[in-house]
């Protein structure tokens, strides 16, 4: 039974769908939760609901590779973070395993999915733990996690220090055709550091983490990827050296992919000079040169995907001296404008930029979404690429207002978001300024 309320015509919008290599002005028809027609209405289409998309971009719903849910004291703030996601054009949120409670058994996966279905509007996809308690000692029941719906497997930011355990975990994950998400970092070199080791951390006297922490981690993990044949995705690259290693591994034909957090493409360690704790992120912002290497790697495709690495935090978590402030940026609501800025900077084409947010992360998590082919789920958003606006902390939907771009002028804004063909977010007129 089709109901007219599920019929939408998006008129005259610029459809950018990298999965189909499409970039053209179209009328897009949605019906019964799916993309149903391009330029010509599908049979049984009930005309009525329409959005004038002239001047707007229509893109597939964004797939966020890492969204923490709520502060540590607020275990699952699904409603607020889901709302923040759809306000940012994000229709799928991948939840990393290192949240509280950690995701190392099917019961937690089911709890998140249940709550997600009840309170959330964006799709939640769960990344299961690699070791029990993420302690790096015993394997989780990965097959059961996969059956419960986990899209990939990871130890989060808790490095598996025992290389034998990591090897076994990779072999076991590969046996079950699971992709492993790796946060490569040498735990000894990064212990207690809060800033990139360089001129800024030296001047400020901040405990520091050298880039070698990342490259040593990647070296080891790549050697094990090669040994085990597992499909591996490297999360949150930060350094020029890290980029080079991934480039070499890809050239060698290893099944590896990589992502970067969008703030690492805009900020660097020099932003720390006023000791503003909003810039405290983990892994840390590195040098200007590293930032350029990351930007070039996104342009060349060595880095496949861009994410917001969303970590909402309470105001108290950031209200302390720099080293003891909690690390993280509440990033869902700035992912689109910060990625569009890379187009304006001449670094990426619109297709490249949108691909890094949609098709690429969907592919590496083995999801169906991230495209707008006829018959695909109607998860999509409309962006006004010209809109200039300021993100005010008090207007953020996330439970965390920890975002260093609040107050900056941003270009490009999500105006509408559809999940499963339903209009779940519309920018209200009084916020349009």
């Amino acid at each position: 039974m089709t109901s007219p309320t599920t019929h939408w015509r998006l008129r005259n919008g610029r459809l950018i769908d990298p999965a189909q290599q499409r970039d053209e002005v179209v009328d897009l028809y949605l019906m019964d939760g799916k993309v149903a027609g391009l330029n010509t209405p599908p049979t049984n289409f009930y005309p009525g609901q329409e959005i004038d998309a002239q001047g707007s971009w229509i893109i597939p719903g964004i797939v966020e590779l890492s969204a923490h849910l709520g502060h540590s004291d607020q275990t699952l703030a699904i409603a607020s973070e889901s709302k923040a996601g759809i306000a940012g054009g994000i229709t799928t949120l991948a939840i990393p395993p290192d949240i509280h409670p950690c995701i190392d058994n099917p019961a937690v996966v089911e709890l998140i999915q249940l709550r997600g279905g009840r309170y959330g509007q964006a799709h939640l996809r769960v990344v299961g733990g690699l070791t029990t308690g993420l302690n790096g000692e015993a394997l989780t029941e990965m097959a059961a996690l996969k059956e419960a719906g986990c899209v990939a497997i990871s130890n989060g930011q808790r490095t598996v220090t025992n290389s034998l355990v990591l090897r076994r975990a990779m072999e076991y994950a590969a046996s079950h055709d699971l992709t492993i998400l790796l946060y490569a970092s040498d735990p000894w070199l990064s212990a207690s550091g809060c800033a990139h080791e360089g001129a800024t951390s030296t001047r400020l006297g901040l405990p520091s983490i050298p880039s070698a922490a990342e490259t040593i981690g990647i070296h080891r993990d790549l050697a094990l990827v090669e040994l085990t044949g597992v499909r591996a995705h490297f999360c949150r690259l930060t350094s020029a050296g890290g980029v080079r290693l991934i480039e070499q591994a890809k050239a060698k034909g290893l099944a590896v992919t990589a992502d970067v957090a969008v703030h690492h493409l805009h900020l660097c360690d020099e932003n720390l000079i006023n000791l503003d704790t909003r810039y405290r992120v983990d892994p840390p912002l590195r040098s200007r040169t590293d930032r350029q290497a990351l930007r070039d790697a996104v342009a060349s495709g060595v880095i496949d995907a861009i994410c917001s690495d969303h970590r909402p935090l309470s105001a108290d978590a950031k209200r302390s001296p720099y080293p003891s402030a909690k690390a993280g940026i509440s990033g869902l609501e700035t992912l689109v404008p910060l990625t569009l800025a890379l187009i304006n900077d001449g670094l990426l084409s619109p297709t490249q930029a949108i691909s890094a947010l949609t098709a690429a992360p969907a592919r590496l998590l083995n999801l169906d979404g991230g495209n707008l082919c006829i018959g695909a789920a109607a998860d999509l958003c409309l962006i006004n690429p010209q809109a200039r606006w300021q993100l005010a902390a008090e207007h953020m939907h996330s439970s965390g207002r920890n975002n260093p771009f609040t107050g900056n002028e941003l270009a490009g804004r999500v105006t509408h978001t559809f999940v499963g063909g339903e209009l779940v977010y519309r920018l209200s007129d009084n916020l349009k300024n």
């Binding site: 001129a199 951390s201 030296t202 006297g205 901040l206 405990p207 000791l275 302390s320 001296p321 720099y322």
Partner: protein, 322 residues
């Protein structure tokens, strides 16, 4: 939120040397010089800060710095509260912000703070009520600005033309807030060359960007030095694989009279204290004729008086000595 800059020519907070203009540094040093006479006369008090409340909030143990801040405030006739963390509710889990709010409700005018985290003084300044001046008495490895100022003050009393000086800083620069503040003060005042010397484990990366020359052998660093500053080496450094032993450190980086002979004949020897005899400095050098270590302590009182007087808005004129 960025910290609003002080209006030009005014001192409100003193958080690090980096945010001071060269002119302000000179003004502080000149004001301190005028206070030297106060500290030497029989009635060692001026009424500049009468009715003001100064809180010394120390989260780390300190003898010299805390006592000289206290003495400086008392010589300016302020009321002084000393808050030791061992005896306070901060130990019981009170957040820094709660501690600050409680002190503000006691109507303090100035907060002198020492804390083991870099950036903690900035934190207090960022959150303090607008009328409260925050003076950094040492935050982690970041800054110890009054120490940097009193060191250049001490050097300037012996060698007024700083532009020709070579100053060599020896030892644990990595963990030293004193070294960072000294480097910033010396380079801002246009010293000809600042050298840092120590084993690579104790020299932080890219410190050349602060305008210093890095050397790894004391024998290479000392020749032509007009001033030699030995830094304190903390015992904890033997853990964490930074150094093998105190003995090996002393044999290569200890300031002995034999090594001091490599410097200029009239070279001054400074040390921020407390000294470890036989670790970073030999007793005969610490107690020798070139050592101005005890003068540093005395000068610290005048420099801290100057900073307090300037921050609370009364200084520079002659009548403040009345």
């Amino acid at each position: 939120m960025t910290l609003p800059a002080d209006p030009p020519g005014q001192l409100h907070h003193l958080l690090d040397i980096q945010s001071l203009s060269r002119e302000m540094i000179v003004r502080i040093l000149d004001t301190a010089a005028s206070f030297m006479s106060v500290t030497e006369r029989s009635v060692k008090k001026v009424p500049l800060l009468r009715g003001k409340t100064v809180v010394n909030l120390f989260f780390e143990p300190s003898t010299r710095t805390r006592m000289t801040f206290e003495l400086a405030a008392k010589r300016l006739s302020a009321d002084v509260l000393n808050l030791d963390v061992e005896h306070s509710s901060a130990k019981k889990g009170e957040t820094l912000l709660d501690t600050l709010r409680n002190l503000e409700s006691m109507h303090m005018d100035m907060l002198v703070v020492r804390h083991n985290e870099s950036g903690s003084a900035d934190f207090f300044a960022r959150h303090a009520a607008p009328h409260v001046c925050v003076l950094n008495a040492g935050d982690g490895r970041h800054a110890h600005p009054t120490q940097g100022l009193l060191d250049v003050f001490t050097i300037r009393r012996y060698k007024p033309d700083l532009s020709k000086l070579v100053v060599t800083i020896i030892g644990d620069v990595m963990h030293s807030r004193v070294a960072r503040s000294e480097i910033e003060a010396l380079t801002k005042l246009g010293v000809a060359e600042v050298r840092v010397v120590g084993p690579r484990t104790l020299i932080p990366r890219d410190i050349e960007a602060m305008g210093v020359r890095v050397l790894y052998r004391l024998e290479d660093a000392l020749p032509d030095s007009d001033v030699v500053i030995a830094l304190r080496l903390q015992r904890e450094r033997m853990q964490g694989a930074l150094l093998p032993s105190e003995g090996e450190y002393f044999s290569h980086y200890g300031l002995t009279s034999k090594r001091l002979a490599l410097a200029k004949p009239d070279a001054l020897v400074l040390h921020p204290g407390p000294i470890n005899r036989g670790v970073e400095i030999a007793s005969d050098v610490a107690d020798g004729p070139r050592s101005v270590i005890l003068e540093q302590v005395a000068n610290g009182i005048a420099v801290r008086m100057a900073v307090m007087a300037l921050a609370l808005g009364h200084a520079g004129s002659k009548e403040h000595l009345a």
